[in-house]
């Protein structure tokens, strides 16, 4: 049964599934299909022998996928660093698995896209990165500015304040110096300020300023940031502005009292954001489980922090979208998943078919499902060898 219905080939999904055993991948007909070999080359659990074999594949795309696979062993990766196709060398240059010697060599590659990939690799040696920061090609310098491990001297060399993209890349880089970000929060362009507001390491001082930005998208991004000062979050929770209340309702650092208040907000969008917040208090979750709005209940059903009894209660919800979210909730247990495997809606059963916590018996039951979406989900998502073998035929 390698096809769910006429024309739907399951072999690429099976070849890419990290739980498909090596011997089963070998049986999928690798020799006859570049698409299947390409899928196997992306598999993070692919056997080193298979990746070594695929590293010399005649098909450029297959070699490219091998080079991009973080599990690729050093030896084939070193060989691919000499590939005549520049895009394959790009993959090697960006790989977290690339040996230091290979990165050093590719730092002086004639192709700018290869040097750019080296410049963006967090493992690029500091002296090489400093050289690349003054590369004549803007793309290379831009990649230095995106390197989250770049030292201040490299970022300073690569930076051009008159270049819009240069400002954008620095604004989003968690390695950017505080003094640089302090300038960028006053940039006239919204995308630059927005990038600072989304910067993982933006300081509370900067976020305080951005939370009062003239542009609402910048304000809301700052209010969603976990480092946004608590008094600002508390203040925004009480404002007569739905967009701002929605933003803080989604902030995982929003205090419990405010989250409880937002869980009873008059706007469904605000309650929905509270329902999806990983820090939603149990009392607020109980309130939200009885919400009249199905979207709110669905958001709660997808929240992995919600206590199991509430999730179990939501599994009987009349709305498909609520049960559907449980099928995607990573903390749903095998018993609940087994129950939902009999759901009348194919979308719900398809969710169970890919759920990593579903028992083998549940997935075996779904092998006979009439819906193509269910069978296709088993092929890429099941972790049970006998189920995958049955699909491979």
């Amino acid at each position: 049964m390698s096809t769910a219905e006429a024309g739907a080939d399951l072999r690429p999904s099976l070849a890419a599934n990290p739980y498909t055993p090596a011997e089963l991948i070998e049986r999928l007909g690798l020799a006859g299909s570049a698409e299947v070999r390409a899928a196997a080359a992306t598999n993070p659990s692919a056997a080193p022998g298979l990746l070594t074999e695929l590293a010399v594949d005649a098909d450029d795309a297959v070699r490219r996928y091998v080079a991009g696979n973080a599990s690729c062993p050093p030896q084939p990766l070193a060989k691919l660093a000499d590939d005549e196709i520049a895009q394959i060398r790009v993959e090697v240059a960006a790989s977290p698995a690339a040996p230091a010697g290979v990165i050093e060599k590719l730092a002086s590659d004639a192709d700018k896209s290869v040097r750019a990939a080296v410049a963006g690799n967090p493992r690029c040696p500091r002296p090489r990165l400093l050289e690349l920061a003054t590369d004549p090609e803007a793309r290379v310098r831009h990649c230095v500015l995106q390197n989250a491990e770049a030292a201040p001297d490299a970022l300073a060399s690569a930076y051009d304040p008159d270049d819009f993209m240069s400002r954008l890349f620095l604004a989003r880089n968690p390695a950017a110096a505080v003094v640089s970000l302090e300038v960028l929060v006053n940039d006239p362009d919204i995308p630059i300020r927005l990038a600072v507001a989304r910067n993982r390491l933006a300081s509370p001082v900067l976020l305080r300023r951005l939370a009062r930005d003239a542009d609402e998208t910048v304000q809301t991004a700052a209010l969603r940031h976990p480092s946004c000062p608590r008094p600002l979050v508390i203040h925004a929770a009480s404002l007569n502005d739905q967009a701002l209340r929605r933003a803080v309702a989604g902030n995982p650092m929003c205090p419990p009292a405010e989250l409880y208040q937002l869980a009873a907000d008059s706007a469904a969008a605000v309650r929905r954001a509270a329902a999806g917040n990983p820090s939603v208090p149990g009392t607020a979750a109980s309130l939200l489980a009885g919400d009249a709005n199905a979207g709110v209940r669905a958001a709660l059903a997808g929240n992995p922090s919600v206590p199991s009894p509430l999730i179990a209660a939501l599994a009987s919800d009349d709305e498909t979208r609520v049960r559907h979210r449980i099928a995607f909730n990573g903390t749903a247990g095998p018993a609940l998943l087994a129950q939902l495997a009999y759901d009348g809606e194919p979308n719900v059963r398809a969710g169970i078919a890919r759920h990593r916590a579903a028992a083998a018996a549940t997935h075996r039951h779904l092998l006979a499902d009439p819906a193509a979406s269910v069978i296709e989900s088993l092929a890429f998502g099941s972790r049970h060898e006998d189920v995958l073998a049955a699909l491979a035929g």
Binding site: A8, P12, S13, A94, P122, L168, T217, A273, G302, F380
Partner: protein, 317 residues
């Protein structure tokens, strides 16, 4: 007669037999080395502005580096090539904000000319692909794509979606710094068009966090593959394709997960909608011809019933 060396901003408008209609299109502001070619074309063609490049015809220093007066974007209207446009085919919700006030306007984009059958065939040449991903997002590693495809928002959303259990394939980001590492996210390189169409067909939803994007072709191409779209509400162009039958809008990373799951459960018919609403190559060519006829000025225009942007042309009709 292939004319691939023509500068990117200038394209011909041809009829059904690929003959020159006497119209040409301007797709962005000219660089110095493109001006001579444009002037030769403009000498014997009527120029229609097409909004294909960010906020063009407005100036912005992201698009026209070192323009220095980006605080006055409407200075872009004073460019000679912009003044040469006698009408504007545009993609904007609010055309008055972007276009010069006087010339006639038509809501037509290059993306309207999607060949729905060629798109379908490209994706299904080896049979229908099984669905392997929930969302596909394309963002090539060029500054233009970084900006237009809105990588900052895209990355934030993709991580939220992956945490919520969705499987995402990102095309074009391989080798680019700052990729989100997550077991539910596959990053693939820039793909040949037919392979990318197959990857799109193997996805349940096409994800477009795009912002300053003047109607991306990938949007109607996804619809042609019967794949619904999840689109940033702020997208410059392409919003007209987003309806309850084809997809949904989202605002930011705080509502993208809910919007995605709601879309998965919605009854959508993207390909049927695309065809029924005239966003196919032939229907759009008839619509553009009608708009050109309405401009008047030439007796022979009365017979023009098909007009399409093209990279090459045959001698005039």
């Amino acid at each position: 007669m292939p004319e691939d060396s023509n500068p990117w901003p200038v394209r011909w408008i041809v009829d059904a037999r690929w003959r020159d209609t006497g119209f040409a299109m301007l797709r962005r502001a000219l660089k110095d080395d493109e001006r001579d070619f444009f002037e030769k074309v403009a000498a014997d063609h009527r120029i229609i502005g097409f909004t294909h490049f960010g906020p063009f015809p407005l100036n912005h220093d992201a698009y026209i580096p070192r323009v220095k007066n980006s605080s006055n974007p409407k200075a872009g209207w004073t460019r000679p090539e912009v003044k040469a446009c006698e009408a504007w085919a545009h993609c904007f919700r609010d055309p008055g904000r972007y276009l010069p006030p006087d010339p006639p306007r038509m809501l037509i984009s290059g993306s309207d000319f999607t060949d729905e059958n060629a798109t379908w065939k490209a994706a299904h040449a080896d049979g229908r692909p099984a669905k392997r991903w929930d969302l596909v997002y394309s963002c090539l590693p060029t500054w233009l794509n970084e900006l237009q495809k809105n990588w900052d928002l895209g990355k934030a959303c993709v991580l939220k979606l992956a945490d919520a259990g969705a499987r995402i394939v990102i095309a074009g980001r391989a080798g680019v710094p700052g990729l989100p590492r997550h077991p539910n996210i596959d990053c693939v390189p820039k793909l040949p068009w037919s392979v990318f169409m197959r990857v799109t067909a193997a996805s349940r939803v096409a994800f477009l966090p795009n912002w300053w994007d003047a109607s991306p072709c990938v949007l109607p191409q996804s619809l042609a593959l019967d794949v619904p779209v999840l689109v940033n509400r702020q997208i410059l162009g392409g919003w007209k394709y987003v309806t309850p039958q084809t997809g949904a809008f989202f605002d930011d990373e705080s509502d993208v997960v809910d919007a995605f799951f709601a879309l998965l459960d919605a009854a959508v018919h993207p390909r049927d909608w695309l065809v029924e609403n005239g966003y196919t190559q032939d229907a759009s060519a008839r619509r553009l011809a009608a708009e050109l006829r309405a401009l008047g000025g030439s007796a022979w225009l009365d017979d023009l019933d098909y007009a399409i942007p093209a990279d090459f042309r045959r001698p005039s009709a």
